[in-house]
């Protein structure tokens, strides 16, 4: 199975849900509407994509949106295991909420918690929406958003002792 055939199979499976397919060297990103993402993800799972490899977010402050992308792949289907397919949606920046995909792919539970603490995107319906790695005070500052400025530390030069 080559990439074109994979694309065709995905478009067939998702039907009218596909908003756009972004293709690059070695990857396919399927973009859907935010309301349809649970439906689209469960259809992808039926197709054979049985786990999520990573969950990533890109912040576009000028366009006032986040792009959330789940990278799904397969363990059981040998043909699909060669590919990683991204399924993504745009989340508005002023109301960062999206439905959780925990009940489609169980493995994204901790990754969604991580996204929650670093970007402040709330996953509605998530069973345990708490910060994962950061201390709660720091998670409130949402450190991976573009507007978070890290305090610059000066480089201190110490004079070597004479004699």
């Amino acid at each position: 199975m080559d990439v074109e055939e994979l694309k065709k199979r995905i478009e067939e499976a998702l039907g009218g849900l596909v908003k756009g397919i972004e293709e690059g060297k070695g990857f396919i990103d399927v973009i859907v509407d935010l309301d349809n993402i649970v439906e689209a993800a469960s259809r992808l799972k039926e197709l054979g994509f049985d786990h999520v490899k990573s969950l990533t977010v890109i912040d576009y402050p000028k366009e006032n949106r986040f792009r959330v992308i789940y990278h799904a792949s397969s363990y059981l289907d040998e043909e699909l295991a060669k590919y990683i397919v991204g399924i993504g949606a745009d989340v508005p920046r002023d109301n960062p909420r999206m439905p959780t995909l925990v009940y489609v792919w169980r493995g994204v539970e901790f990754q969604e918690r991580e996204v929650y603490e670093f970007f402040g995107i709330e996953f509605t319906g998530h069973p345990d929406m708490r910060p994962l790695l950061l201390v709660p005070q720091l998670a409130e500052a949402k450190p991976l958003r573009k507007e978070f400025i890290v305090k610059e530390e000066p480089i201190i030069r110490v004079k070597p002792p004479t004699g």
Partner: protein, 196 residues
């Protein structure tokens, strides 16, 4: 001690016997023996904060065998007297480091290992790290990213030299606090996030 053609050198036995006799007869101060004993029983607590822990493990592996210096990693904080900070300390880990430090019985010592423990290393300018010297008093720093096991062994020897030459432990016991180093208290509670 070193093996050389099947022979093992154990030092000057006559001299050691004389010093032991002096000690028992009261001619030598007991403090010297305390310093000597502590220097060869530095037991680091097994708290691995970061990736330098691999080098920490290699240091006590058969090839580098840091146990020959009398140091043996131990699990429980209450049976140890040395803490080896391996690399970065994140804000959540700072709480664990300080709690472990408080649990250890005095006299106790700290070695900070790796570039991250000195000034942040690759995490310089980060929002989620704490420097170890902000939370506990550090005796010896080991530079490197990560330091070789030889460097860790060197730090243990350096700490032994410090203990025996400056008579840190005997003075510590006599005076009740450590005379040659300031007590370090964290400026802000590292566990505040935990208590809510």
């Amino acid at each position: 001690m070193s093996g050389d053609g099947g022979r093992v050198y154990v030092g000057n036995l006559d001299r050691s016997a004389k010093r032991a006799k002096d000690l028992v007869m009261g001619k030598l101060r007991m403090g010297r023996a305390v310093d000597w004993a502590t220097a060869f029983s530095l037991w680091p607590v097994h708290l691995t904060t970061s990736c330098c822990g691999c080098e920490f493990a290699a240091t006590w592996s058969p090839r580098f065998d840091a146990e020959q210096h009398g140091a043996l990693p131990w699990v429980g904080a209450r049976q140890t007297n040395m803490i080896l900070i391996e690399g970065t300390v994140s804000k959540k880990m700072a709480c664990a480091v300080r709690v472990t430090w408080e649990q250890m019985p005095s006299p106790k010592f700290a070695i900070a290992m790796g570039a991250c423990a000195i000034d942040g290393g690759i995490f310089y300018n980060s929002y989620n790290i704490v420097r170890p010297w902000e939370i506990i008093p550090v005796d010896v720093y080991i530079p490197g990213c990560p330091p070789r096991p030889e460097a860790v062994a060197r730090a243990i020897i350096e700490l032994q030299r410090k203990i025996r030459q400056k008579r840190v432990v005997s003075k510590w016991i006599e005076e009740g606090w450590r005379p040659d180093k300031e007590y370090v208290a964290p400026k802000e509670d590292p566990c505040s996030w935990w208590r809510g």
